[in-house]
Amino acid sequence: MRWSTSTRSVLPQARNVGVGVWLVLREYRRERGRKIYRCLVLAVILAVGAILHILPDAYGVLRLSGYEQAAYDFRLSGNLEESDLVALRNSPAVKEVLAAAIWSLRLESDEGKAVRSAMVVFVDDMAVASRLMPLNPSKKTFEPGGAVLTSRLASQLSVRVGDSILMDWADYDVDSPPAVPARVSCLVESGADGELAVVDEDLAETALMEAMGKLRAKGEPGASQPRFTVFFVSLRHPVDDSWIFETIGGEPEEYSLEWRKDRLDSERQEVARLDSSTNSILKSLSVLLYTVALLYLCGQRLTSRRKELAVLAAAGAARPTLLAYVLADMFIVIVSASALALIATYLFFRLQLMFVLPGHLIARLSIHGLVLDIIVGSLIAALAIWRTRVSQITKALAKVF
């Protein structure tokens, strides 16, 4: 019996690569469970690396984004009264003022399921608050008459947008103060100011004033609470510190003045300080983790496939086929594990850091961390494979006999 040889032809090396890829695809089709398991293990390693990689970035964003997005120029704290507010608002240098009173209150979910103490900022204009305060990096508009909670606080109280909360006195044992109800109109994702609620002053004025009256009558601490405790001021043109105190007619030592630019600079310095130490350590650790994982994967692939590679070599597989076989497998594993790692990293930041980072930012940071690490790790791993010689494989073949 003799067979025709007319169908034989020599094709370029691309054909050899094609055979390598064909083998990998067949392998994936038939050994799906093992491949998925390997993929999951690698995905966990990659996700840990990505989390390490982007933690410093996430920290930087948390520290800075609130102040970067806020539109106030300075913040004045102290015993502030209506007359101070009027004086500032009447000045041509001032564009906008948000007057707020910060009170520590007890918050309850409407059904009384959860109770938390939190700082409540009563603001005289919710729309201005959404622009000026360093609480709203995503620039959501705060609805007048509603309450805005940080996502962390909402999660602790188990409330969502549309639910109601009750605000009550926590620090002073006032007899039967009326609990003030407020409908949650918006959640903000910011960790910059911790657990905060921003509430329209109109909503609670009567009740709180009533309570204030009781406090004054009892002579309790806090009875001399001022009308406002903080102003956020946006300017039309630059002014100096003395102008501010002249305008409100007060002494500098009675107030605390903080320029947003100064605060931002100080936050940036803090983040930069972290950059130079922890950041480098975490990022190096992350790259190291990736490299070790990928090298292990390559080594494991080459070792576990030694027999297959040897048999292929004996069947006449050229080096491009053998390389394509190993590299295509690694490519598929790395790409699918990276996709899983991206999802895992995203979920980690969403769930573990309690919504403090906006989703799109987490996705951007995760992709950034993963891509950088995978490029470095893959280059090293590919180099290791590239250095594998056919002679090493034929030695393995000798052992197969």
């Binding site: 019996m1 003799r2 067979w3 040889t5 169908t7 034989r8 032809s9 020599v10 094709l11 054909r15 050899n16 055979v19 064909w22 083998l23 067949r26 392998e27 089709r29 038939r30 050994e31 027999k307 297959e308 040897a310 048999v311 292929l312 070599a313 004996a314 069947a315 006449g316 597989a317 050229a318 080096r319 086929t321 056919v390 002679s391 034929t394 073949l397 000798a398 197969v400 006999f401």
Partner: protein, 231 residues
């Protein structure tokens, strides 16, 4: 026409550790004629597999020269070796070494893919022929794990011969098989020699091969102790 394999004073020494030296082959000179059914016999550790490996270029000899198809194996590059193994030599192993994720059909087809046989129909027809030759026509779509040892070895033989090699090299092809399966494999190898004119070289300690052999090389402790040519 010269011998298909010729070894001249071939020695093979392994050094598994410093100051340790294992002599696998010592001054072996043999000639294997084209078209012959040659068996290399000897007890375990006598150097049968080593001689086979050296003869087909899997191992370079420590000393001596090996001529394969009239070419010195010491001068083979990777491409020469790949071309030779894909076109002119077929390997059959004791442990079958089928790729576990390929069906019998795909395992047999693999060397043709590696040799860039383009036409799918041509490949399929040839695989069918090979499967028929080894008596496995109905089992082509099974994975190796779904086949018995004897069936796997027959698929391995079909894979080895699919590219019509001139030389078929088998290392203990019946080592993992029961008597009935071993008999089938022996018959198959003999048929390949007769019907396709292949040169078959088998390293084995299975005495059933002896009556079928044209040429018997007997080794002991890496040395050639006897060589008998029947035809």
């Amino acid at each position: 026409m010269g011998p298909i394999i010729e070894t001249k004073d071939v020695s093979l020494v392994f050094r598994p550790a410093p100051r340790t030296c294992v002599v696998a082959l010592s001054d072996i000179s043999v000639q294997i004629a084209r078209g012959a059914f040659t068996i290399i016999q000897g007890p375990s550790g006598s150097g049968k597999s080593s001689l086979l490996q050296v003869a087909v270029g899997l191992q370079p000899p420590t000393e001596g020269q090996v001529m394969l198809f009239g070419m010195d194996t010491a001068r083979f590059g990777n491409r020469d070796r790949a071309a030779l193994w894909s076109k002119r030599i077929g390997f059959v192993y004791q442990a079958f070494n089928l790729l576990p994720f390929l069906t019998a059909h795909e395992n047999i087809e693999l060397p043709m893919r590696l040799q860039s046989v383009r036409h799918k129909n041509g490949r399929r027809a040839r695989v069918e022929q090979c499967l028929e030759l080894v008596g496995m026509k109905t089992l082509g779509d099974r994975l190796p794990s779904q086949l018995s040892g004897g069936e796997q070895q027959r698929v391995a033989i079909a894979r080895a011969i699919v590219n019509e090699p001139e030389l078929l090299v088998a290392d203990e092809p019946t080592g993992n098989l029961d008597d009935a399966a071993a008999g089938l494999v022996l018959d198959l190898l003999k048929r390949l020699q007769f019907e396709l004119g292949m040169t078959v070289v088998v390293a084995t300690h299975d005495a059933r091969f002896r009556p079928a052999a044209d040429h018997v090389i007997k080794l002991e402790q890496g040395r050639l102790v006897s060589e008998v040519r029947y035809r």
